[in-house]
Amino acid sequence: MAVPNEPATRARPAKLDLAGALKDAALAAFVAFGLFSLMLGLRTDTGASGRLQVSPRPGLLATVVAAVFAGRLMVALIARSRIAADFTRSVQTITPQFEKLGRFVAPALLALALLAPVLFYSNRYILDLGILVLTYIMLGWGLNIVVGLAGLLDLGYVAFYAVGAYAYALLAQNFGLSFWICLPLAGILAAFWGVMLGFPVLRLRGDYLAIVTLAFGEIIRIVIINWQSFTNGPNGISGIPRPSFFGAPFNDSEAGFAALFGLEFNPVHRIIFLFYLILALALLTNFVTLRLRRLPIGRAWEALREDEIACRSLGINTTNTKLTAFAMGAMFGGFAGSFFATRQGFISPESFVFMESALVLAIVVLGGMGSQLGVAVAALVMIGGFEFFRQFEQFRMLVFGIAMVSIMVWRPRGLIATRTPSVFLQKKKIIPADIIEEARQ
């Protein structure tokens, strides 16, 4: 059993082994030198003649290798001292504390979200950012049904987002349907695609599902790019109808929203409407998930996540159970997609690349698979947080990747919160997954 934060670290005598630590660090630095020597030490660029040239970057290489040496030395020294044990203990107590705190954090966040348009009425930037964060929260919650509750790894979630966006764009443009008619249609279409894809594949083992969804995400994108007559190919669809307030458009005409309510026309009205729209959609996702978790199907999902073979032995139809989770997640992805299309007014295949799926998955993983609040906090930190570090934008995916790996190594059930199954036998007795795993072996 390789559980990194076992109390074993505490039992070890707190003796400082400087020579051993130095040796460790030197070895790590040597490996780092090997890894980075060519990739960071030399940079290829197109020279004046149009041919590639290399230019050395010894400074960068030396810095990185030195950083690895120092980092490894620190880790080696700390791991042998008392600090590590204290740290591990404090981390282990974070989760219950966070869950206690959750009672206050969730209503506080909700109140903040409800009041944001009032507080930041004149600050369009904040409102736009809020809409973006809420979109990712909704996507995160949608994917959470699939990954967090049912334990199915979906790497092509963005495909359903694309189906929703294109469904709205094409229906609205070709048939002049309004947003409120298109929204459920887009959700149904996305769910339909989810079933179409899921039906043959969900009988397979979990890791096959991951790669098939990955391939499916790419197929959808390639088809969108190449089916020019239908989707306008790589140029995308522009001029997608903007949302209206139940028929009243957000413009300064007689029948517009402002005139209807006797307000002075202000373009920010539309932004605020979009903000509340995505907030409502996200809360709908959350509400449905919370209620589903109490239904037999939700409990079956959680059981499936914990142990598929036990589920089958108990007579649960695993394929159908998985399929519902998959379709449900796809439907919310479709909703989010239509919202995206109406907000942007322009969509192209560029918006639906694999990195987008990876980003949503990273949010779910960081937030703690299955935890609603954790996902919301993760989306807030990851999407909102990076907006404040705009100059580090290019490092975002790198940081996400590193975070995904380190969280799996360190706290595989999620960093911020964990979600244990909703129902227990008699007393509330939490059996950690690692013990279950141990018992199975």
Binding site: M1, A2, V3, V31, G34, L35, L38, M39, L40, L42, R43, T44, L52, Q53, V54, G151, L153, L155, P200, V201, L204, G206, D207, Y208, A210, I211, V212, A215, E218, I219, I222, V223, I225, N226, I309, F354, M355, A358, L361, A362, V365, M369, Q394, F395, M397, L398, F400, G401, I402, A403, M404, V405, M408, V409, P412, R413, A433, E437, R440, Q441
Partner: protein, 304 residues
């Protein structure tokens, strides 16, 4: 007919490259039962290492192409093997025995890390390299259409064959190969009878990464242009090859690679080049539905 022959040659060459990458997937899956999503990116890293090493050799005055290519191949294999080792050590080894989604998510994370690391370190632009090995033979000329066999293609197929022979010998006749086969059958039992499983798994990753690096070098020679994203598509296709051949089976990986290479080439030649990736991915789905054990694979029984 000439067109068909030409496509056949192209398909076999492409299939050799896929096959070499597929071996890495199939070996890792055979031993620890996980899909190493980062393997495609190790292939990409191998191609980049080769490109940089080649340019560096040119810069210090090694201009004899055969010598330079040989050195490049060695350097790329060694360093990519180091990458394979580091990936396993950092992202997978601590997760052995964890819940079943953990290694998959960790692998996705590692794949994202490698892609973005290369993008940041070397830039997002495509890296072109002029053809290094010129020349070739015209096999057959008929109706103004010539069937060409270039020297690069010969080198790729010969190298792949040679590596396959060495590799089969390694698995079937050496101590390491015996350990690997033991781990494949039962990891826990193998450790009980004295097989150092950590070492064996590490070496599996190292060998897989070295083979992927060779494939990367060949990709660079054959297409002459690489970017940080090639590992993603090539990885999915090589995985498809591994599944098609029967995951866990080494000859299966090579056979699957050849089939995928041929299918993709013929699809783009006779139907549409735009949808060649869709063809490869559809095969993955179809194989998984109708023939989940692949051509040469063994049926897998899930036990409690």
């Amino acid at each position: 007919m000439e067109y068909f022959l030409q496509q056949l040659i192209n398909g076999i060459v492409l299939g050799s490259i896929y096959g070499l990458v597929a071996i890495g997937y199939t070996m890792v899956y055979g031993i620890i039962g996980m899909i190493n999503f980062a393997h495609g990116d190790v292939f990409m890293v191998g191609a980049f290492l080769a490109l940089i090493a080649f340019l560096a050799l040119l810069a210090i005055g090694v201009t004899a192409i055969p010598l330079a290519l040989f050195l490049v191949l060695i350097v790329a294999m060694l360093l990519a093997a180091l990458y394979g080792w580091a990936v396993e050590r950092l992202a997978y080894r601590p997760l052995r025995g964890s819940h079943r989604l953990a290694p998959l998510i960790s692998a996705i994370g590692m794949s994202i890390v490698l892609q973005n690391y290369v993008q940041l370190a070397q830039g997002a632009r495509v890296k072109p390299l002029p053809p290094l090995i010129p020349g070739g033979y015209t096999l057959w000329e008929h109706n103004g259409f010539a069937v060409q066999l270039s020297n690069v293609q010969i080198i790729i197929v010969v190298t792949t064959l040679a590596l396959m022979i060495v590799f089969s010998w390694l698995v079937s006749a050496t101590k390491l190969g015996r350990n690997m086969r033991a781990c494949e059958q039962d990891l826990k039992m193998a450790s009980l009878v004295g097989v150092d499983i950590d070492r064996t798994i590490s070496l599996t990753f190292v060998i897989g990464a070295a083979l992927a690096a060779v494939a990367g070098v060949m990709y660079l020679l054959y297409y002459g242009v690489i970017d940080f994203f090639i590992g993603f598509i090539a990885g999915v296709k090589a995985f498809t090859a591994a599944v098609l051949g029967g995951i866990g089976s080494l000859p299966g990986a090579m056979l699957g690679g050849l089939l995928i290479g041929l299918i993709e080439t013929f699809w783009s030649a006779y139907f549409s080049a735009e949808y060649k990736d869709v063809a490869a991915f559809s095969i993955l789905v179809l194989v998984l539905i109708f023939m989940p054990t692949g051509i040469l694979g063994r049926p897998e029984v899930e036990k409690v």
